[in-house]
């Protein structure tokens, strides 16, 4: 393991932004850290990057406990590099930006030149070596920031939303770089993203955070819901004022009225068109996306809110669901989790 996190808590003021009982991160793997804004992704990344101390809990880096004292952290920071969502380059040339970390590590000039050239080649920015860093575009800045980090040959590369503020062309370049450094240099990569499909394409593992807590499942199908009773007194959960889903009496025993609801995409059942119209937990909507994913097929349906379901390839082929067509969904109570 490259990291083992236990009982990690981070509190800002009176707000708990992270509460992670246990988390392991394997070395030489790519991890995607998914979650909505304010889920605690950047805070977790900063803690793993040893730039911020947790309020409580323990972090082990390469099986050794980390002590958040500046003198102890500095040697470890030589192995872990973090690139911000909006990276900042020093007000000098691209070359000198990349040289900064190498000089700190007392690498001799000849090797520095070689490493800088290699790093710029890796991100396709060699011709920008002598350019003033502040004249680069957002995507170029992001690529130079990645080159500056990779020049240091880190064990761990942490990247906060690496593609969120760049154009599509640069997004693809960055994704390719992350994959390549993991495959060729065996660097452990952990990146945050909102984009679930990007995480599925790039990462070996996905970690999902919701309000600072690990969600033991996929990022999709998490909604804000309100618990109430229907006219017959049956408990139900109203999602985004649109979907009324019946829940069990046990699920209704929640001391909050406003809840986060997760609908397990693997437990949602597709319905044949013949089974319309629907009973309480049966919906219909239009298919907006179909993707093959880890041997299954992921279908996103617009049923007033977007709901994803994962079905077997066999079921997909049998029903022949097509983008733009209508389909029915059945959401059993066991697929609904209040988190």
């Amino acid at each position: 393991m490259i990291y083992t996190v236990s009982d990690l808590i981070k509190i800002y003021g009176s707000r708990t932004v992270l509460d992670i009982p246990y988390l392991e991160i394997e070395k030489e793997q790519i991890y995607a850290l998914l979650g909505a804004n304010g889920a605690g992704k950047t805070t977790l990344l900063n803690i793993l990057g040893l730039l911020e101390a947790p309020t409580a809990g323990q972090i082990q880096y390469r099986a050794r406990p980390v002590h958040f004292a500046e003198s102890d952290l500095q040697p470890l920071r030589q192995e872990i590099v973090l690139v911000n969502q909006h990276p900042i380059l020093f007000t000098t040339t691209v070359f000198k930006n990349i040289e900064f970390g190498l000089k700190i590590r007392k690498i001799d000039k000849k090797d520095r030149l070689r490493i800088i050239d290699e790093s710029l080649d890796l991100v396709g920015m060699r011709e920008f070596s002598s350019a003033p860093a502040q004249h680069l575009s957002g995507g170029e800045t992001q690529r130079v920031a990645i080159a500056r980090a990779l020049a240091l040959s880190p064990m761990v590369f942490l990247c906060d939303e690496p593609t969120s503020s760049v154009d599509v062309e640069n997004q693809n370049i960055i994704i390719t770089i992350l994959r390549r450094i993991n495959e060729t240099k065996r660097i452990s990569v952990l990146f945050t993203t909102h984009d679930r499909s990007q995480a599925a394409r790039l990462a070996h593992h996905t970690i999902v955070l919701n309000q600072g807590r690990l969600v033991p499942t996929l990022y999709e199908n998490i909604f804000r819901g309100v618990l109430q009773s229907d006219p017959s007194g049956q408990p139900q959960c109203v999602i985004q004022d649109k979907l009324h889903l019946s829940i069990t009496a046990d699920q209704a025993l929640c001391n909050r009225q406003v809840v986060s609801v997760f609908i397990d995409p693997e437990k949602i059942e597709p319905l044949k068109p013949a089974k319309y119209p629907s009973t309480p937990n049966e919906l219909q909507g239009r298919i907006v996306q179909v993707i093959e994913e880890n041997g299954k097929v992921r279908i996103v349906v617009d049923a007033d809110v977007w709901i994803a379901l994962l079905i077997s390839k066999k079921s997909y082929q049998k029903n022949g669901f097509m983008v733009g067509e209508n389909m029915g969904l059945s959401i059993p109570a066991e697929a609904i989790h209040l988190i």
């Binding site: 990057g49 020093f90 900064f100 500056r148």
Partner: protein
């Protein structure tokens, strides 16, 4: 209006002819102003950097006191220093009163708060991401501080230029502690005041032109330097 135009015309001629007395006065002004700015920078820049970069109890109060000291009148500083360096003062035996050293001491006291406060402002404006980036690239505390200092360099140079402008144009300290002694402690501002008292404006206006020219030249140099570095 004629008086102004005549004085201005004569002053221009005086500047062009490089009048010996004027050159001597400019020399004294530049010498004490450069010395006091250099000394105050040596003290004020690290002090400001330390206050801005450090975390300690009473930091806000320290900054408030420094900002208050920006409004310190030159005559108050003149009186304060006078009590120390006059014959009956603590440093009386050193015979500092009515020397260029006395002016320098007063001017250093005048601009240390200015350089310190402006350095704090320059450092505080630097994006926190520079500090975080330096740390994640493996920099220790000293190396991180250097990165922040380097990014704030234009602000710090601007503070020094502003301080130089303040001392070269001040009159209270130069008059009270220097005494306006011809060829020795007579500065541009003290001489301009003397000429005004005498009703003779030509040399005063000529020195005024030089004073403005010096200030303009300093700012021009600063902007040239800033432009060169930013285009690198």
């Amino acid at each position: 209006m004629d008086l102004l135009i005549d004085s201005f015309y004569s002053a221009i001629l005086l500047v062009i002819s490089v009048d010996a007395e004027m050159v001597a006065i400019i020399g004294v002004s530049l010498k004490v102003s450069c010395a006091s700015t250099a000394l105050a920078s040596i003290i004020g820049v690290p002090l400001g950097f330390g206050i801005a970069f450090g975390k300690f109890a009473g930091k806000r109060m320290t900054i408030t006191v420094l900002n208050t000291m920006l409004a310190l009148p030159t005559v108050v500083i003149g009186l304060f220093v006078y009590t120390f360096i006059s014959r009956r003062g603590l440093f009386g035996p050193f015979d500092l009163l009515y020397t260029q050293y006395a002016i320098i001491i007063g001017q250093v006291i005048l601009i240390i708060p200015l350089i310190t406060a402006f350095t704090i402002a320059a450092i505080s404006r630097i994006d926190q991401r520079y500090r975080q980036t330096a740390r994640t690239l493996g920099a220790n505390r000293r190396q991180t501080a250097w990165v922040v200092f380097r990014e704030a360099r234009f602000g710090i140079v601007a503070a020094i230029v502003a301080a130089f402008g303040r001392v070269i144009s001040e009159i209270g300290i130069s008059m009270m502690l220097g005494g306006n002694i011809k060829g020795f402690t007579r500065t541009m501002t003290t001489f301009m005041a003397l000429e005004y008292d005498k009703g003779s404006f030509v040399l005063a206006v000529a020195l005024g032109i030089v004073l403005m020219g010096l200030s303009f030249g300093m700012n021009l140099l600063f902007h040239f330097f800033q432009g060169r570095v930013q285009s690198q």
